[in-house]
């Protein structure tokens, strides 16, 4: 059964309404909790198991030994106590697909998703982040 102008009342109703689109970038874009964007790294927690490298589908993450290692502490009896090794994380944002599988697999919760998504750069080299 044909009924002409089916959308007309709807269009009229919306004439006085505010635009449905958001004003990004002039307004902050809304993200929900659990949003996956740039991955952040805490060196103190990392034990260098490299599980994150093994599951990363894009080969975006790399865990390397830090150039500077903490000096061993001297115990009261004079023996040396080795300290936990320190690791750096090299994150290639140009390869990362923000799946956060590395965050899920990390046994020490050294990695986490941050809501920081405005990552575009003109220079590709700037997309290589070195977290220490």
């Amino acid at each position: 059964m044909k009924k002409p102008l089916r959308l007309f009342p709807e269009a009229m109703k919306n004439l006085t309404k505010k635009a449905a689109t958001s004003k990004y970038p002039f307004e902050k874009a809304k993200t929900y909790p659990g949003f996956r964007a740039r991955i952040v790294f805490e060196s103190e927690k990392c034990i260098g198991c490299k599980m994150c490298m093994r599951v990363c589908p894009a080969g975006a993450i790399e865990i390397v030994l830090s150039a500077e290692q903490p000096a061993p502490q001297t115990a009261a009896d004079g023996s040396q106590i080795p300290q936990k090794k320190k690791f750096d994380c090299i994150m290639n944002l140009d390869r990362c697909i923000y799946c956060a599988q590395c965050v899920d697999i990390c046994p020490k919760k050294a990695l986490a998703s941050s809501p920081d998504f405005e990552l575009a750069q003109f220079d590709r080299k700037k997309l290589k982040l070195h977290y220490t």
Partner: protein, 395 residues
């Protein structure tokens, strides 16, 4: 008048993805049509063999942006079948919710695109505005809008909270109201009817013969739906019905899609009322025992099939994807023939094509004029040589 051949695509204002349709015209009438694939081939199946099962989840998820959950669920379903994993009830429920939300978002997207192709931009604007609500539901549940990353082998990655249930229920209620209105628009608005009725005819026997799937087949009266015929997740516990229609044209495909959306709301409401408790996933070893499995899944565009073969290592030996569009392309030339050039775009859009899922490649020697077939070993050797020449190391 002499016949004229015109190409539609691979770059064409009406097609958003690169694919070529060769139309032979007699005046304004299409007398012959061929579909040419191959502009968008990404070699995902090959890439899947070089990644482990966990890495493949995210690779397969990116086969398609609109049905990312469909492809990954299908792949994971096959892997879980080989590994003989029993997925917890709550994971199945959550997978079903995401699957149906995805269907809603895909069908509303389609309705907008179809309206746009018809030059009916008012409808396009309103459907896409409302589609934001379902994208918000998906974002709320999974964190992201497009690639939800909900699935993992053995379950899901995120639980659902009480607040999320309330918020999604609220949005579903709004969407249900809106979609009921769109059902009226689609079935009553003369502009829409004039452009879709008796366009792109596909009779039932032809649809069956040419292996049409999903809404394209159901609009020709073919009563198929994997969710009912071979239930996965928790579809067998829900109260819903398969929508079919009898007009065999673009109008029928639109009606099937909007009515299916209403069924999806019904399903989501049922699941949200009684979400099971318990752990959201079970642990699955890295190495999957040797074996093979085929998984069938009803994606928004039709039946999606994944075949996975494992050899006991942590890398799959073969992953094969048969996206629904490949199946629907077989009947497309039939639909186009005898139609008018002005209707070609909406006829193509009516099967809701997804080119990137579908693309295939063949090797064709122009000088010799022959096709070459590779077996697996030859292809492997060829690919290693290919990458070596480019200076890329190959595992």
């Amino acid at each position: 008048m002499s016949k004229m051949q015109i190409p539609l695509g691979p770059q064409h204002p009406a097609l958003k993805e690169p694919e070529n349709f060769m139309l032979v015209l007699d005046g304004e009438q299409i007398v012959d049509a061929t579909v040419n694939l191959g502009y968008n081939h990404r070699g995902i199946e090959k890439a899947a063999e070089n990644r482990n099962y966990i890495q493949d989840i995210y690779l397969i998820e990116r086969v398609c942006g609109i049905c990312s959950h469909s492809h990954v669920s299908c792949y994971i379903g096959a892997v879980e079948e080989i590994a003989k994993v029993e997925v917890p009830a709550i994971a199945k429920a959550l997978r079903t919710i995401v699957a149906e939300l995805e269907r809603i978002h895909s069908h509303l997207l389609w309705l907008g695109v179809a309206a746009f192709e018809l030059g009916y931009d008012t409808l396009f604007m309103y459907t896409w505005r409302d589609r934001e609500q379902v994208l918000d539901c998906l974002e709320l549940l999974s964190g992201n809008r497009v690639h939800y990353g909900m699935n993992t082998i053995g379950g899901v990655r995120r639980d659902i909270t009480k607040e999320q249930v309330d918020e999604i229920s609220k949005k579903i209620k709004y969407l249900k109201e809106r979609t009921s209105y769109y059902v009226n628009v689609v079935t009553e608005e003369p502009t829409f009817l004039a452009r879709t009725q008796n366009v792109g005819k596909l009779p039932k026997d032809v649809a069956l013969e040419l292996n049409a799937v999903g809404p394209t087949a159901r609009a020709s009266g073919v009563d198929i739906d994997v969710r009912r015929d071979e239930p996965y997740f928790i579809y067998d516990q829900l109260d819903w019905k398969v929508i079919t229609y009898h007009t065999c044209d673009v109008f029928g495909r639109a009606v099937v899609r909007v009515l299916e959306t209403i069924e999806s709301y019904k399903m989501i409401e049922q699941i949200l009322k009684a979400i099971p408790e318990g752990p959201i996933s079970v642990k699955v070893p890295w190495k999957i025992p040797a074996g093979e499995a085929v998984f069938r899944y009803e994606a928004p565009r039709g039946e999606d099939i994944h075949y996975v073969k494992s050899n006991g290592t942590e890398y799959p030996e073969r992953v094969k994807v048969r996206a629904p569009t490949l199946s629907n392309f077989q009947s497309l030339p039939y639909c186009l023939k005898q139609g008018y050039l002005a209707d070609a775009v909406i006829t193509i859009a009516a099967i809701d094509p997804c080119m990137s899922c579908t693309d295939r490649a063949v090797v064709y020697d122009i000088n010799k004029g022959e096709r070459k077939t590779f077996d697996q070993e030859e292809l492997r050797k060829y690919s290693i040589e290919f990458y070596k020449k480019k200076g890329i190391s190959f595992k």
